[in-house]
């Protein structure tokens, strides 16, 4: 399938989220898919975003989001251009966008929208934890690239965040890794996990799978 990565990297937070994309980029190539675009920085305009999404079966986004839009320096996807997602899958590692924008995308014909319905909360001081958050956040993308369904991708992402919660609340991470920040680490993982949302049309699961398999 044809895949695009979009990462505005327009400020430190978006830049940090954009740095979560390389394992996904690597997986696109290693699993035999086509990388249509890897938009970042100034190249990430609204027009370039639309072009990249139109050229793809799947768009992976890393950056800022709100309930009703994805944005870098300018708005990239919102109610005005959401129809570009029609017939495509969008996965967004971004705040809040699955709540309203995701619904609008599916209503406009998107096969699926996987993202978060609330603000993402991330630990800063513990690199081990941040790495676990990254792995969990891209777990759905990697699953889809390996031929999994959207439902399975959603489940993989949820389970990956679950592992972070369990590791820090009563697993080896409790007190051992980070006594000071352990509380906020597991609670923010729990928060993020609770707000993962997959939106699809009811028939999107099997159709998505066959559509993905049919397009090399």
């Amino acid at each position: 399938m044809k895949v695009s990565i979009i990462r505005p990297t327009n400020d430190p937070t978006a830049f940090a989220l954009g740095r979560w994309a390389p394992p996904v980029r690597k997986a696109i190539k290693s699993s035999g898919h086509t990388l249509c675009a890897d938009l970042r920085g100034r190249a990430c305009t609204r027009a370039a975003f639309e072009e990249a999404v139109r050229a793809s079966d799947v768009a992976f986004y890393f950056g800022h989001g709100e309930y009703d839009r994805l944005f870098g320096k300018a708005s990239l996807l919102d109610a005005e251009n959401v129809e570009v997602t029609s017939g495509r899958i969008v996965m967004a590692v971004a705040c809040s966008s699955a709540r309203d924008l995701g619904k609008k995308a599916v209503k406009a014909g998107a096969l699926g929208y996987l993202g978060f319905t609330e603000r993402l909360i991330l630990p800063l001081k513990n690199q081990f934890a941040l790495g676990a958050f990254r792995k969990a956040s891209i777990a759905g993308m990697l699953c889809l690239l390996q031929g999994g369904s959207l439902k399975r991708a959603h489940s993989q992402m949820t389970q990956a965040f679950d592992k972070v919660v369990n590791y820090f609340i009563d697993g080896p991470g409790q007190g051992a890794i980070d006594v000071i920040h352990g509380g906020f680490i597991w609670m923010s993982a729990f928060w993020n996990q609770a707000h993962i949302k997959l939106l699809t049309k009811k028939s999107a699961g099997p159709r998505t799978r066959s559509a993905v398999a049919a397009r090399p």
Binding site: R119, L124, F184
Partner: protein, 94 residues
């Protein structure tokens, strides 16, 4: 979240921030861009700012699945956890 629970959360976080080796260095990021130190977290929660309300919602969500004590204990070091248990045991004995 019940007012009583909120007060307990704030009390534990105040103690946690007081014990924090770098209470003014950012430790948590709300991914729209703002970063918060231990002291700021306590201030935001006490002041019920937008960030404070998000953080309180995070505690509220956790309390729907985990007991209050377990949530609070994850912000205590082993020694302060033991002290809290002893205090609770003494309070229970009276």
């Amino acid at each position: 979240m019940k007012k009583q629970e909120e007060q307990k959360v704030i009390a534990v976080l105040q103690a946690w921030a007081a014990d924090h080796p770098a209470p003014d260095q950012p430790i948590l990021q709300l991914a729209y861009g703002k970063q918060y130190s231990a002291n700021q977290i306590v201030r935001e929660i006490r002041g019920h700012s937008a960030a404070g309300q998000t953080l309180l919602k995070m505690f509220d969500l956790a309390l729907r699945s985990y007991p209050l004590q377990e949530v609070l204990d994850s912000f205590r070091t082993k020694s302060s956890r033991q002290a809290a248990e002893e205090t609770a045991a003494v309070a229970g004995a009276h």
